[in-house]
Amino acid sequence: MKMSGSEILIKSLLKERVEVIFGYPGGANMPIYDALYDYGKQIRHILVRHEQGAAHAAEGYARITGKPGVCLVTSGPGATNLVTGVADAMMDSVPMVAITGQVAAEYLGSDAFQETDVMGITTPITKWNCQVTHADEIVETVAKAFYIASHGRPGPVVIDITKNAQFEEADFFYKKVVVKKLAFTNHFDDDEVRKAADLINRSKRPILLVGHGVLISGAEKEIDELTRKGEIPAAATLHGLSVMSWSNPWFVGLTGMHGKYAPNVLTNEADLVISAGMRFDDRVVGKMSEYAPLAKVIHVDVDASEHNKNIKADLPIVGDIKTFLKDLLPHINTGHRRSWREQFRILDKKEQTAEKKRLKKHRDDITMDEAIKTLSEKTNGQSIIVADVGQNQMFSARYYDFKKPNSFITSGGLGTMGFALPAAIGTAVGNPKRQTYVVVGDGGIQMTIQELGTIMQENLPIKILLLNNEFLGMVRQWQELFFDKRYSFTNMTGPNYVDLAKAYGIKAKKISKKINLRTAISEFVESKESYLLEIKVAKEGNIFPMVPTGVAVDKVRLE
C-alpha cells in the first residue's frame, strides 16, 4: 500500500520501537507533524521550548534507557539550534537519531528560505548522517540510522529529509539493516585475555579506571567481581561514576581534574593501569607525557581508534568490556593488595584535613558540598542526578553517594552549560520509576530555563536544586587561582527564581541559612510534584582537589 514519506517515517520509527520523540515543528517538517497527529497513542511527542532542549532531552532519555533518543526539528534555525546537543552526544557516545526537515529537493543549494547545509554542519559531529530526497529511501535510512546509533560505540546520527520526500508516496515494507562493520565488536583472542590476566596477576600496584563504557555494556557486576577477587583499587571517570558504590572496599572514588587526591597521586605510582571503557581524556590524565610513568597499560575499548590516541597502550584490547571481563575473570588470581589499598586511605585522610579547613572558611554560608551531601542522605543515594556544568557538577560528582548504577547524567566531553534541565526531561520520561534531580548553577539554568515550560506542560515531577552563588562559579574559581582574582565578567545578577518557577506552576522555595538546609531538602525530596529549591550558597566556594590544566596528575592541588 502506498503512503506518504511522512507516514513511512512514523511507521519506521514504530518498527524501531520508538516510544518518545522530543521535537519542535516548523515549515520543513510540517508533513511529518501532520502524520504524527494520527499516531498520538503509539508515540509520545514532547514539545520542547528550544531545539537544543530536544537534543539534550533525547540524550537524557538515551542514557537512562540505553535506547537511541529521537528528536525531530525543522530546517534552518531548527537544525542549527539542535547542533550543540548533537555535538554533546558525539562527545559522550550517546545513541541519538535526530531527524531534521529540509527544503524541497528542487530548492537545495539555492539559499531557499530556512535552508542550511545540515549535512555539512553535522558531518563532523555525527557518527553518520544522510540526506533523504525521496520517500522510497526513508525505510532503509531509518533502519540504518538506528543500527549505527546503537551498535559499536554509540553516537548520534542525523537524517535530513527534504519536504518533497515527506509528501511523496511510496510503498512501506520495513526491513532491518545490519551494518557489518559494526556487527562484530569483539576483536580479541584468548591469547590477549591470558596476557591481560598475566599482567594483572603479576602487578603489585594496579589501578582500574572505570569509564562510561562499563555502563553502556552493563558490566557493573563483572567490575565488582574483578576488583574484589583481584583486590584491585578502582577509580571512576566522570561518566564511570555510579558503576561502583562505596560498599565495595576497592572503590577509591572519582579521578581526574576534580577527582579525589588519592587516585590522582597514586596513578603515578601504579605499576599497571587497566582502563575499562574510558578514553584517557585530558581531564583525566592531566599532562599526558607525565601520566602513569611507571605503569604498563591495558586499554579495553570498543573503539580501536582510542588505543594509543592519548596514552600508549601496552596491551590494547578491542572489544566489549563485559565480554572481555567475563573471559578474563576465570584467569584472575585472588589478590593480596591490602597494603596498596591502604595507601589510598592514607592520602584520603590528607584530603579530609584540607576539606575541613576549607569548610571552616564558610561558617555561616551553605556550601555546595553540604547541599549535595544532604540531598544524598535524604534520597539514600538512590536517585538519578542530572548535573549541569561547573562547580555544581563537580560537587555532585564528588559528594553524591551513588548506590545504583547509571545514576549520574552530565555533559562530560563537551561540558555544555544548560544541559541538565532538558536532559532531566529525558531521564524523567525514560524512567518515571526513579526520581530525577537536576543540580544546576545560576549560570547554567539560565541557558535553557525555558524548558520549565516543557516540565509544566508534561507535568513531569522533576526536582531542581539550584545552587546559586551569583557567579559563573567555575570560571570565577579559575580567575581566583590563575588570574590574580581578576573577576572579569563572571558575576551574574539573576531573576527571582522562585517567582519564575511559580509562573510556570512549579513549586519553589529559596533558602540561604545553614540551619534551614536539612528541613528544606526534606521538604524538597518529599514533594510529589516538580519543585525548584534555590539555595544561596557561599559566593566564593571552591572545588578541590584540582589538577590544573596541563599539570601531571600527581601534582594535584589540595587548596
Binding site: T123, P124, W128, N129, Q131, V179, A304, N308
Partner: protein, 80 residues
C-alpha cells in the same frame, strides 16, 4: 612525515567531506588527492598524500576507518 593513504569506500555523497574533516580537525594539509568511482561496483577509491606526524597517523587511519562507508584503508610513508 609524508604519507600516502589509500582508501576504498562505498560511493556515497559526503564521504570525502567526512574524511577531509578528520584531516582539517588536526590542521593537516593535503598535498595531493585523487579519487574516482569504480565503474559499476558502487565503490570509490581515494588516494591522498599529506604531511602527518608519525604518532598521529595510526589514530588518523583508525578514525578514517570508523567512517561507516569506508571498507579499507592502507597507508605508507613516502620516501623522498
Amino acid at each position: 612525515m609524508l604519507y600516502t593513504v589509500d582508501i576504498v569506500t562505498e560511493n556515497r555523497p559526503g564521504v570525502l567531506y567526512r574524511i577531509a574533516g578528520l584531516l582539517t580537525k588536526r590542521k593537516i594539509n593535503i598535498e595531493r588527492i585523487n579519487a574516482y568511482a569504480v565503474k559499476g561496483k558502487g565503490i570509490s577509491k581515494i588516494f591522498f598524500t599529506a604531511d602527518v606526524e608519525k604518532k598521529v597517523m595510526e589514530t588518523l587511519a583508525k578514525q578514517i576507518y570508523k567512517v561507516i562507508e569506508v571498507a579499507d584503508i592502507k597507508y605508507h610513508e613516502v620516501s623522498h
